[in-house]
């Protein structure tokens, strides 16, 4: 029952992330500002990371295959958060160098993930990397840094405004909830707390829903 609930939670998260990717690509289509591309690319990676975890849960019995899936989950998730953070970092920069840089980073990340996956499948057991479970907590620390930067950037941006910014708090709140989800996973990785594990899943779903709500509320006349 718990296994099914986890698989469902991962697939629902992937679905929500893909809806968000669709909205973000649509927004990119209207503005064509390259620095914004990091966001849909980042959420695409996050969607794939949720699918990899669902597949890992489904194929847990196959040790080699499931270990590779777990590694893929960790890598795609960190790439996802990195792209989102890069998007915010580059949003204030000029367009052309960002475009080239993003294209190079995107191509390199896809290639490195493919090479890594093949290497994991063909590498003899005595050469395999440390357990993905152990590496998981290190990757979560990295993810917390990336998300922490985004939250810091958005809050600093709000603080620099003189005017009313009540309509602009939704993005920092959504990213803070996503940060909380990663932090809860980090705590679960240390002490195996069931509460932290459940909170991580609930917070992640809530943050993705919040992002979609932000899209749906955009374009309304503000008083």
């Amino acid at each position: 029952m718990i296994r099914e609930a986890l698989v469902l939670s991962e697939f629902v998260s992937a679905g929500l992330a893909l809806v968000l990717v669709y909205f973000l690509f649509k927004a990119y289509g209207f503005t064509r500002s390259t620095s914004l591309l990091g966001l849909p690319i980042g959420f695409s990676y996050l969607a794939s990371s949720y699918v990899f975890l669902a597949l890992y849960i489904l194929f847990e019995e196959n040790a080699v295959f499931s270990s590779s899936l777990l590694w893929l989950r960790l890598i795609t998730q960190s790439f996802g958060f990195a792209f989102i953070a890069f998007s915010y970092y580059f949003s204030a920069k000029t367009d052309r160098p960002v475009r080239q840089l993003l294209m190079v980073i995107s191509a390199a990340s896809v290639l490195s993930i493919l090479v890594f996956f093949v290497a994991l499948l063909v590498t003899p057991p005595f050469l395999v990397l440390p357990s993905a479970h152990v590496a998981g907590n290190y990757s979560r620390v990295l993810n917390l840094v990336f998300l922490g930067y985004v939250v810091y950037y958005l809050v600093a941006r709000l603080r620099s405004r003189d005017r009313d910014f009540s309509d602009l708090v939704s993005a920092p709140i959504s990213f803070s909830v996503l940060w909380l989800a990663q932090y809860s996973m980090f705590i679960w990785g240390i002490d195996g707390s069931g509460t932290a594990f459940i909170l991580a899943h609930v917070a992640r779903l809530a943050s993705l829903i919040l992002f979609i709500v932000v899209y749906c509320s955009s374009g309304r006349v503000r008083g």
Binding site: F23, K26, A27, G29, F30, T31, R32, S33, S35, L36, L39, S87, Y88, S91, T94, D95, Y153, L154, R157, D167, L168, S170, A171, P172, V214, Y215, S217, S218, G219
Partner: protein, 93 residues
Amino acid sequence: MTAEKRTKFQIYFDILEALSDELRNDSMLQPTKVAHRVNLPYDRFRSYLDYLMQVGMVSSKPDGGLAVTEKGVEYLKEHGRHRDFLRLMGLLS
């Protein structure tokens, strides 16, 4: 700090928005006034305007004036909505 360079799509949006605003105030608007408002040299403004007419977002009226078509109004709405989304996401000022 230098001003952010506008993308081609942002310029189309600015022209449509300016045309729409000017037409609300003056049914016989002068293209030079719009070019000035969107901060473009007249020849460049003209090439953007020609493109907008070609894709059916702006049309010329029998009296020689300009009009924003329904397609143009729809584009304005959608572009505005997506810019607002990016603003709410903290990616645009």
